[in-house]
């Protein structure tokens, strides 16, 4: 590499690279051990050979030859009408983890090399990204407009996620409180994550006074340290008023859907766990007996349920995998029967298509949950970790069942915090999809067993 650099003629300004090459490095972010470099380039004659990145710290010099991801930038195309060609991809971004000791990098030296042997180098300040959420919001913000393709998800967004995962500091127990007398030898432990909205905790308590049996342990898992005091006050007030026993457990930081459920599972006393979204309400007696019986018989490792919107149309009836013509390469989670009236779609009247169930209502034997390694925390913001767990179970030879004769409402998305724009949500969904299809490529290419109606 050093020999190659010696043949390069460094120029003093970008303009000296040639009249038909325009580019700009817009930002350099450090995400954990990775660096995200983002910019644009107009190069109609394809004169650019490569970009070299150096980290100058002490005596060390590292150079990264990078493979970048290209994408459309309408703003750049509009700015250079004479040079930009329709269909050119002017945006670029890449992630590198090739630098040792990233902690000492406050600037990166970024060099563009042309095929004619010219080069221009500049020092760009490195912006430190301090949290997982910030990494996702900022990193995924590199792509400012659709479309998002499989290459972007697999090469760019997946690298951002991998870089960001270490930013999730280890969580320890912030708070564990029992309200009312603990349930001895519970048949079932219900984990209800609370995030963003304490009203849902109130409504859950109100519902469970009538629809949870005394042999069920209820665990509210508060996934926001800022909500813990409020949750404890609410818990104390309502347990006294409504004579309901429950635990409130909270980690020291926000863990996301997978993380909080994994964390809370440590505090469950029962052999059976039900993951229940805070906006999911069973409103018919007897559902627990059915779930517990089915789990205890060990025919099924995972049990889901038909869930209803508040107008009693189907919200969830199982999940099947599908591909879409406008999203080539992606394997997406589809929801058969969604929005159809539950009264019309009888539990056994249609041909089963689903292979997985949602974690909005998912029961599992605790030993199986431990054996499967819990929910994968690499999925972002409550998506795909449920099908991932189902695929783990299928891969291990377990069966999945579904209960369709109980009335369980799911108001969907209320349990997630708002304030996330649709495009970011779309990018997250596709990144999660890409993660799942990469991880389960072999299994997804086989015929998966269908879920069974219990």
């Amino acid at each position: 590499m050093a020999q190659a650099e010696e043949k390069i003629a460094f120029v003093k300004s970008k303009d000296d690279l040639g009249p038909r090459i325009k580019y700009n490095i817009e930002s350099v972010s450090r995400i954990g051990d990775a660096f995200l470099i983002n910019g644009w380039m107009v190069d109609p004659d394809e004169q650019c050979r490569s970009i070299l990145v150096r980290k100058l710290a002490g005596k060390r010099v590292a150079v990264a030859q990078l493979t970048w991801v290209r994408f459309a930038r309408k703003d750049v195309a509009d700015a250079f009408p004479g040079l930009a060609k329709p269909g050119d991809l002017h945006g670029f971004a890449f992630v590198t983890t090739e630098f040792p000791d990233p902690d000492d990098a406050t600037k990166l030296n970024i060099n563009l090399l042309t095929k004619s042997g010219k080069a221009f180098g500049e020092f760009i300040d490195v912006r430190e990204v301090n949290s997982f959420d910030e990494a996702i919001t900022q990193g995924f913000g590199t792509i400012i407009a659709p479309p998002v393709n499989l290459e972007i998800c697999k090469k760019l967004f997946a690298a951002i996620v991998e870089g960001a995962l270490p930013l999730r500091k280890a969580a320890t127990l912030l708070s564990l409180n029992q309200f009312g007398s603990p349930v001895s030898n519970p048949e079932l432990s219900i984990i209800i994550p609370i995030y963003g909205n304490l009203d849902l905790m109130q409504y859950q308590i109100g519902n469970l006074i009538n629809y949870a049996s005394p042999t069920t342990e209820i665990v509210f898992a508060v996934d926001d340290p800022n909500l813990v005091n409020g949750a404890l006050r609410l818990g104390q007030r309502l347990s006294g008023l409504l004579n309901l026993s429950f635990k409130v457990v909270a980690p020291t930081r926000n863990l996301g859907f997978s993380g909080i459920n994994n964390f809370a599972s440590q505090y469950c006393e029962s052999r059976n766990i039900l993951f229940l979204n805070s906006d999911c309400f069973p409103v018919q007696g007897g559902w627990e007996e059915k779930v517990v019986k089915a789990l205890d018989e060990k025919k099924y490792a995972i049990i889901g349920a038909r869930l209803l919107f508040m107008d009693e149309t189907i919200q969830h009836d199982g999940i099947e995998f599908e591909s879409k013509i406008d999203l080539p390469g992606f394997v997406l989670n589809a929801h058969p029967n969604k929005s159809l009236p539950a009264k019309i779609i009888k539990p056994n009247s249609t041909k089963e298509k689903s292979t997985c169930v949602t974690a909005a209502f998912m029961a599992i034997r605790k030993e199986v949950f431990d054996e499967l390694g819990h929910f994968d925390e690499g999925y972002i913001r409550g998506d795909f970790e449920d099908t991932d767990l189902c695929l783990k179970a299928i891969d291990a030879g377990y069966k999945i069942g579904i209960i369709r004769d109980q009335k369980i409402f799911h108001l969907e998305r209320l349990s997630q915090k708002n304030g996330i724009d649709n495009f970011l949500r779309n990018k997250i969904t596709l990144t999660n999809s890409a993660r799942q299809s990469t991880k389960w490529e072999a299994l997804l290419s086989t015929k998966l067993p269908l879920i069974e109606n219990i």
Partner: protein, 405 residues
């Protein structure tokens, strides 16, 4: 039987119809030899300070200072609730009968059952607060009559509140109400609204308010009262006094000597704009309007003796207006809108004249016809009024208590 009647107010401090009905029920139980106690919400804004959550005002009457939030009526004051628990443990009632839960907390029926073994819990519903977030009026926020709540419809009234929130509100309230053994509704109309909302029909009984009223047995017909009209009760926008004043102004053109007696508290009108509007209309009517101020149980008969007709002009459905029973006891014929508990009062209870609700012209027409009535037409109307008695509803109440105990 040991009965604890719990009300949203004490009529000594807040003389609304529901408070009066609750207190009368307690008095009737006591008079019948039951071991009855009365606990009322303390509406004094400063109450509850200095740690006085419960205050005893007589040997068997208490005030409690509680707070609730106003969407689900969840109880917020833990100190008061703790004091209430101690009170329950001490009293050990066989029956706890709530009137309203809005100030005390929707969770209290279940709380009572967790404290007192084998206690039976009853609730008298006085309006539509559990169904309707618009002050329980079942009127849309645009002012139209509402014929049935739903999450989507309620969210249209309150666009900042999602249908899902209304759905969960309804669920929370119903879940808490599941601890009530039996409901009472003072009108069939309100009963049907609650059944439509989802309360099981077999758990809700129409039971007229038990009111300890002095009953006029044989009323002497006074011809000069034919042109004397009376408005009784609280004055606010929903009670529609402005509609009555407008109709009265039209009627006055043909009956200039007619008078309107207003028996209510003008100074307690919450909205300054509405108060100003009413004051202007009253001023325009000059000496035709007599402002008598609020009335009490003691002054009720004298006020009723001043009028030949009781007129209601409420914009909302009402439940079972106490004023109708008060008119009934005093043999005063009524003129009321053709909706809800008022229509039921006129059609089922005592008979009366009905007009199209919220319609000034329709009310003016009925007022005019009433004012032109001859003695030979008016006298049979008085004589035909049935005799008021609260004995039947009281006996029914006790029967239902016994059925559950």
């Amino acid at each position: 039987m040991k009965v604890l009647v719990i009300s949203h107010g004490h009529p000594k401090f807040s003389a609304g119809g529901g408070e009066v009905a609750a207190y009368s029920m307690y008095s009737a139980l006591k008079d019948a030899g039951h071991d009855a106690n009365f606990l009322a919400w303390n509406n004094n804004a400063n109450a509850g300070e200095m740690g006085r959550s419960i205050e005893q005002i007589t040997a068997t009457e208490w005030l409690i200072s509680t707070k609730t939030e106003h969407f689900t009526f969840s109880s917020l004051n833990e100190e008061a609730i703790n004091a209430f628990k101690i009170m329950l443990e001490s009293l050990k009632p066989d029956v706890v009968h709530f009137h309203h839960l809005i100030h005390l907390g929707i969770e209290l029926p279940r709380l009572v059952k967790s404290i007192v073994k084998n206690v039976k819990v009853f609730l008298t519903l006085h309006e539509y607060l559990f169904i309707c977030a618009n002050n329980g009026q079942m009127i849309t926020t645009k002012g139209e009559l509402c014929y049935g709540a739903s999450p989507a419809a309620c969210s249209q009234c309150f666009p900042k509140v999602t249908p899902e929130s209304f759905f969960m509100r309804e669920g929370y309230i119903k879940n808490c109400l599941a601890s009530v053994d039996h409901f009472f509704s003072p009108s069939e109309f309100l009963r049907e609204r609650y059944i439509q909302w989802g309360l099981p029909a077999e758990r809700i009984t129409h039971l007229e308010n038990i009111l300890d009223l002095d009953v006029v047995a044989n009323k002497k017909v006074k011809p000069e009262l034919i042109k004397e009209f009376g408005f009784f009760g609280q004055i606010n926008y929903y009670k529609g006094l402005d509609i009555l004043l407008d109709a009265f102004a039209i009627m006055k053109k043909t009956a200039p000597e007619a008078r309107l007696h207003i028996n209510g508290h003008m100074s307690e009108i919450n909205s300054p704009e509405y108060r100003k509007l009413l004051e202007q209309k009253i001023q325009d009517l000059g000496n035709s309007v007599v402002l008598n101020g609020p009335y009490t149980k003691e002054t009720l008969k004298a006020r009723m003796d001043q009028v030949g007709w009781l007129v209601m002009s409420s914009r909302w459905w009402e439940n079972s207006p106490v004023v109708i029973q008060e008119a009934w006891a005093n043999k005063v014929p009524i003129i009321v809108p053709n909706i809800g508990g008022m229509l039921e009062g006129a059609q089922v209870q005592i008979g009366g004249v009905v007009y199209e609700a919220r319609n000034v012209e329709s009310l003016a027409k009925e007022l005019t016809e009433a004012s032109k009535m001859r003695v030979s037409e008016y006298a049979p109307l008085i004589k035909g009024l049935p005799k008021y008695s609260d004995k039947k509803p009281f006996a029914r109440l006790v029967d239902i208590y016994k059925r559950y105990n």
